[in-house]
Point group: C2
Amino acid sequence: MKVSKQKALEKKGWVVGSAKDFLGLSAEEQAYIELRLKLAEGLKVQRKRRGLSQTALAESMKSSQSRVAKMEAGDPTVSLDLLVKSLLALGTSSRDLASIIAGR
Amino acid sequence: MKVSKQKALEKKGWVVGSAKDFLGLSAEEQAYIELRLKLAEGLKVQRKRRGLSQTALAESMKSSQSRVAKMEAGDPTVSLDLLVKSLLALGTSSRDLASIIAGR
DNA sequence: TGCGGGTATGTCGGAACTGACTTAGGCAGC
DNA sequence: GCTGCCTAAGTCAGTTCCGACATACCCGCA
């Protein structure tokens, strides 16, 4: 992983690395974070594609605008759970979900 | 959704439906639960494929045997987050993850 | 310039989830 | 029988995440 990328993640609030591997992320950490970023990006794309504002999406899924903003920003206080629920609330099929995750 | 299937889910502890739709799950609820079940099943398969016990997997990802058992059982107190982290801890690639989700 | 919709960011109390622990059941081999 | 390993299921205190709210920023339009 490039240092610049890690810096960007840290700026978002990720505590990256650990005592045993302080120069980078473990494979799982990295895969996990990249998965989140893919979903965050996918969410933003899907929402805009449907012409919804963050507020409108938040209401339709009984969340709040601020949460939606954090989701799309890749904020670490947002769980994968919520990210996926948002995509499902937008009507994303499991096939589409899979392709977002696979990265295509 | 078949009533028998819903019964089975309720037995697992899912509170299914709501005041406004007490005869079934909304599309999102259903998609969400089925996604969890796919991941739970995928986890069990991947773990066995690698010849690990629940205890061994738990240790490798700093969780506990009981959590792993609940994950595989589709227990509702386990988050999607943990399910996905477990799969990643087993070395599942995002491609494999995607195919588990797509259901193939 | 002021206004309004959309988005970003921070905080907080309450809800949900977590790991650890315990106990129980199944099933091999002795 | 009993011993060991694996898995299931329950409980609980501590942590994390949630929605709600407040606030600030940006941009287009009058």
